[in-house]
Symmetry: C2
Amino acid sequence: MDERVREHAAVLVDWSAQVEAGDDVVVSVGPDAHDLAVAVARELGERGANLLATYSSAELTRAYLTAHDGDFDEDPAHELGLYEGADVVLSIGGGRNTAAMADVPGELQGAHRKAHSGVREARYDTRWVSTRHPTRSLAQQAGMAYEEYRDFAYDAILRDWESLAAEMANMKDILDAGSTVRLVKPGTDLTMSIEGRTAVNSAASVRYDSHNLPSGEVFTAPYDTEGVVTFDVPMTINGAAVRDVRLEFDGGEVVDFEAGEGEDALGAILETDPGARRLGELGIGMNRGIDRFTDNILFDEKMGDTVHLAVGRAYDACLPEGESGNESAVHTDMITDVSEDARLEVDGEVVQRNGTFRWETGFEG
Amino acid sequence: MDERVREHAAVLVDWSAQVEAGDDVVVSVGPDAHDLAVAVARELGERGANLLATYSSAELTRAYLTAHDGDFDEDPAHELGLYEGADVVLSIGGGRNTAAMADVPGELQGAHRKAHSGVREARYDTRWVSTRHPTRSLAQQAGMAYEEYRDFAYDAILRDWESLAAEMANMKDILDAGSTVRLVKPGTDLTMSIEGRTAVNSAASVRYDSHNLPSGEVFTAPYDTEGVVTFDVPMTINGAAVRDVRLEFDGGEVVDFEAGEGEDALGAILETDPGARRLGELGIGMNRGIDRFTDNILFDEKMGDTVHLAVGRAYDACLPEGESGNESAVHTDMITDVSEDARLEVDGEVVQRNGTFRWETGFEG
């Protein structure tokens, strides 16, 4: 076994999920993520945590959904019992075909997601972390050789997270003190309110309310969005390729949308529920260990020189205690490249121009 | 996909587990059982049942157990919640190496099993069914080519279960009316009481209190066992090869044991708890679709011309309502060939001699 698989498992269990003896841990295993799951099982055994592994296969989900009449039972008791009893959920993605869901109607996926809102809440109430085992299918999606892709993935994952957290604290401080964010680039002029919201210094650990490994972004939960935004980074939504998305917001809601490719998949997401037409997240990528787009949102959205927005659910960590933000069965991220001809303003002051932050050398205000 | 995979899934879901709309179903998927799991997912979707897939990997279990200090938490809440909420549990075995647990100390496995007694009870309270997807590792274990093994497995699984159930009813009637069973062959003279116990016509359906696919045996829960029995069919217990077992019973308990091979694995089973030294099952193999030993207990114990006994847990279906039989964290089957020089008596009357039953032509009383 590649020693980095063991290191990945150790970072996931220790740094990311902060697993302790007695924790009831669900490990969700993708069909090609077996090796990482074995390494994680060893880490959990060493810590005296309790392991239950679930099987997360897009092919299974496709077979199930396409055979179903679409009238899904709400929050099945066995699934709810599992997540309500869990302290930690570690999702280890790694399938064999990133397009395995390509022919499943978005409405069907949306109906299934909606029927599982209680299950989802229970899972979000745990110390959950999502990661990916570098597989051949992810390498193919990225247009990279398998070994090359593994190097890429571990460069992003096996980082000095403490020092990245210290750098990202700069951005969090600016957002926490600010009221309005404006993003400007060709085809984009978008304004959002962030007043009263708390930014998350997403350093790949539940200690920071950060639930992705790799991470390396600072995000918050915007509202009252106005204007137009274009997303020029290619992405895959529910197995469908989506390109060149343009969203127009009025009164906080998407009032018009188009896509150069995959408009149906985008439309299905936006039509899931009313919250799917509002923003749930503004994120600023700060992981410079990620040096290229690989058509994998978990990595792409963390890349330096990018900003992403998600329609749908807002994370509670960004909201005042007890207050609920935008609610939705979906949370779909879309990315825009800010390396050129772009600026990010907070309360009228430029905090990032052409990818360079205010506190970095070479910044032009 | 081999059409027989779909047929296997349909038999499992319809005949075996009697799945209906709204059932909360756990599907336990072995690492190489993916194709059958996909077919089962489709069947569940068609029926409007609710699917949660778990991942059952001996390699994961090995990594977890060998890293653990052995002081396992009892009945973790997430696992208990899953099975307490489930109506049906379908275990689809199919690993990549039947010896994957070979170096895990039996004591550690026993301690883990003991700590999960509540979870196990919850699982047994569902309409559970165990089956196997024919994999290359099972073919290897059987000493057969992969295609040859698939033909063998589907001949055993895709049967006319209704008509086999009708034939097996003969044996059930004899056992239900009887008080004492005696098994005699070279090296074996064993007497057991079955008074007050009910035999199960194990026709691979929960309708018959039968939980294996394939099945094809009639079994009951004996007690007050006296005498000696030898098991001459090779088997694998917790990943270890076990051969030529001899058990001596006195007062219902194993008082002496030996094995030509694998004595440690056998000893670990017997030492799990007090119930592991008493019989939990007497089974009579009646599936003549199984025409050879394949070193896989699920198939071997159902073969015609064999009798098997299990140390450990007795199944509730054999017991008077509300009465509990032998209790144990284990249930380990061992098989003896009765095709030659052997007879099975109930209350002093021979019911099977050299593999031929009383109601069959060629029977010599």
